[in-house]
Amino acid sequence: MSDPLMTAPLVLCIALPLLGALLVTALPRWSVSLGIVSALATAGAAVALTAAVWQQGTLHLILGGWDATLAIALHADGLAAALILMVNLVGLGISVYATDYFHDRLRVGAFWPLWLLLWAALNGLFLAGDLFNLYVMLELLGIAAAALGALTGNRDAVAANLRYLLVGLLGSISYLLGVALLYTAHGTLDLGLVAQRIAAAPELFAVDAAAMTLMVAGLALKAALFPLHFWLPPAHANAPAPVSAALSALVVKAAFYLILRLWLDLFWPITGMAAAMLLASLGAVAIVWGSWRALRAERLKLLAAYSTVAQIGYLFLFLPLLTATPPGPARDDLLAALLLMALTHGFAKAGFFLAAGLVQTHAGHDRIDDLGGTAQRLPATTFAIAMAGSALIGLPPSGSFIGKWLLMQSAIATGQWWWVVVVTTGSLLASAYVFRVLSRAFGLEPTPVRFVTDARAEVPALTLALVSVAVLGLASGPLWRLLELGSAGGGA
């Protein structure tokens, strides 16, 4: 079943960043070069993984050669492969940017191993096919993320990330209790097998529902779903820019991915409209509230952080639509749209934060009202913010435009038209907060000399933003194929 060569990318996606983390820990003097090499290797493994899924469909590997129930499985379907590709390309961009961002030797030495561990955790999380292994990955992710977030060492950052760590721990424990209940009732930890047993034992509805509540609640805390988002804005706004990018674009997305994975593949026999509506309503409030706070934010990075709260909300709107749509092309469209929104936000938010970090470095602050000169002096960076911003709003031709188009189409088709109102309101508020920043770029400052000032820092931000706007919006067709190939989960 598992030709080692075929499934090698599954392992390498996790082992390579892990090895990289070890090397940069052991050889701090070489951390930048070793770090970049590891980043390239990891991204290469992720591309290979996506290519393998593209060619052969879902990859499944049982580690250790034991029975499926006893061992841990790694699993990559289309959904995971697409997200892995996004995470790793964004990760590569962040890595290149980081080579130019940190200058203090101690901070360079601290950043790289933690960042590579975070990366390993992300890849591990997307590929995990085992409920308890997911818990370990969540903890690795949470600890590495909090440590990275506190890297600046200033008081606000430490306080915010301490809170982030504790909240994340609470979420993981809640998740773990759910896993314990599932193991008690179903006797295995393998995601696919538990799913089969849940489907086969409808009489255990109460137990499964309780486990789902505990797990989803714990993950919603980590995904910062309103009203559990309180920890996110300070933690993301006070971290160093490359870390903010990783936290906002990738880490939160990982928690959402898990919720989706559980929803679609594990608990699908018991998920109902009521639960979906509850989560989507919270998502709707998150959209409006997060966008509103972003509009009121005084600092650029805080704005970006609140925008993440709102953008996560959009992803939850898909749950009741998925529940209401029977399997078929319409549901495929919906899943692809959801994925497209998540991917676009990943690229766009990372680009936004990287660009915001540059603005902050050059201006010495990130107060939006005083950004004029800096925004005009760095055209490429302002462009990155503009493009990422249009992707956040959902303007064409960004990926989220297609995502929102399909979301609204499905909302109208299933009669849940009220989500259209939410999406429209959210888009308007998003335009307001994005253009509030961009309008600073049109002042009476002197004309910039050239487009790109600082290539190593500006090009990654610009590239990530460009992907979110042009590539994802105009060529999203392959996602459908990836999802089609990977629909091995129990979902439909």
Binding site: Y135, G153, I173, L176, A180, Y183
Partner: protein, 98 residues
Amino acid sequence: MLTAQFLYGGAGLALFVLGLWSFLVHEPLLRKIIALNITGAGVFHVLIAIAYRGDAAPPDPVPHALVLTGIVVAVSATALALMLGARLQDAEDEDRSR
């Protein structure tokens, strides 16, 4: 056998809820960290309880291993949380002395 499992696991759930309560109600950082550890310990208790298979049969090793793993993870997280707290304390002391 079921009674023993139920009582022991039930005690774990009680710990879980108590820890949760303490985490939510108490302000001081140290109490929150201890509360989290109690919450975690409660979940570990549940896992240990379901490993029990009566006096005749040896216990299920899987939950035991999970608990061991969980403990190391909890220790790691606690250590980092404590150090972040200490760092915060330092920063606050500096602010005050200014």
